[in-house]
């Protein structure tokens, strides 16, 4: 299959992710959109790792997965903490900081 298909799919995934972060209001959905952006990059890495026959592209994906897992741990903990205080994770209601 031509490379353009893979690149196009990853561009669509990335765009959907960016739009999700900007347009959605639920912190968990935003979080899923962020993962979509990360995975769009992963798709490019594996595609071109196979195209150039260079292993570091695949290795990068493992690093991204590990980092994303660490980020999930922190992010979900933050959401649990804020849900306990506010009983909501809707980011439109996060308005105690103003100026």
């Amino acid at each position: 299959m031509p490379l353009g298909y893979f690149l196009g799919l990853s561009a669509i995934m990335f765009t959907v992710g960016v739009l999700g972060v900007i347009l959605r209001r639920n912190a968990l959905v935003i979080f899923m959109s962020l993962e979509l952006m990360f995975n769009a990059a992963n798709l490019v890495f594996v595609t071109y790792a196979s195209y150039y026959q260079i292993l570091i592209g695949q290795i990068f994906v493992f690093f991204v997965m590990a980092v994303a897992a660490a980020e999930v741990a922190v992010g979900l903990a933050l959401m649990v903490a804020i849900f306990r205080t506010k009983h909501s994770i809707d980011i439109d209601q996060m308005s105690s900081l103003k100026g």
Partner: protein, 482 residues
Amino acid sequence: MTRMIDIYSILPVMIVAGWALLLLVVDLWIPRHRKGITALLAAIGLAIALGFVLASSGNTILGFNQMVVLDGFSSFMQVLFLVSGMVAVALAYDYIQRMNINHGEFYVLMMFSIAGMMLMSQAYNLLMVFLALELLSIPLYVLTGFARTRLESEEASLKYFLLGAFASGFVLYGTALIFSATGQLDFVGIAAVVTAGSANSVLFLIGAALLLVGFGFKIAAVPFQMWTPDVYQGAPTPVTAFMSVAVKAAGFAALMRVFLVLFPSLSEHLTPILWVMAALTMIVGNIVALAQNNIKRMLAYSAIAHAGYILMAFVAFGNGEVVGNTVAATLFYLVAYGLTSFGAWALVIVIEREYGKGILLDDLAGIGKHYPWLGVAMLVFMLSFAGVPLTMGFWGKFYLFRTAVQAGYIGLAIIGLLTSVASAYYYLRVVVYMFMKPGEPKLQINPWVSLVIGVAALAVLLLSLIPWTILELASRAVLLLQ
């Protein structure tokens, strides 16, 4: 095969990270009311790493198959990060006790973040750039939310997390596109492919633009600044001070290293974008700061504006003749801004009675009369921020403007001058409130915090008499950049 020279090249980073891991365990045996021991141990760890940085400075080593580099630039930045870390520990010690968030993890997380910044200044491979970026960011998300169950802190943390991860997504996708365009991840390889002209220019340009967006979030450049005021206001004040100095410096370290090594060939396309970003950052930061009456928020907008001044000199990154001056002026400005900023934030820590309370402009009333030396110190910091002569801030701005004019961006320099003049209004308003308004402030001043204020004020004044010593140190850092 790992050689000793590889280990040597990242020894300070390993010391900070390893010390933080040990401290995490040791902290379990330190009782809650004696967390000062943890603070002291953290400061000792940072001091040891600082010693190793100074001992190994002057060398140029490419370590771990060109994954990391040790050069004058990285040594300069690492000294800045480590000293910022020690100042932040001194500021935090009293504050987290008063705010009843006295957990030893505070210092450990700060050390992890510093390790990330140090690695960022050494990264010579896009994989390392990404890992360092995450290592410095993830502990900061936690630190921002450290005063949890207080809504401001939690909200700030969530906002910082979502936008920080958003920025990481851009950096990551940009990295992926650069990999797709060149088939390389290390800077030497990418530069070679680009010079040979065999890179896919469209993908390479989009990748560079995405990296610029990602780093733009980290340095809080307009239009990627919207998280800054909320996060700076909601985070515990020592963390804010640390962010406004060290994180900004780390963002600029990454920006400089990546752009100067990888993207000089794209300067034709990126320079106009940087021009607009720099102009907007200076204008928006300074104008919005005029309307703030919360000091933390005002200083947040001022931090945005100062990033704009640095970007102004950075616009000329592709111009080989002035690029050395750009880097030297930027490093100098980061030092000048760091000294001033830590002093000003230390003063906010002094007047902050409860979490997020007592930091409005009205709360400054009477401080100049009852605590004259605090008033004078704040006067020094505000004058330095505004860029008045006989302060470090003046020389910082002078070198940045000189670089911008040398590179031919006179319009940008004029915008910078005009916004500096406008900024004097809100900086001096702080001083007016301190000295001219009657009030009966009751402050408890911790000796460590006063030490920071005193040293910062003296340094801002005295170093301004010999600015060329620091500029020369910064220029020597430049020579080894590429």
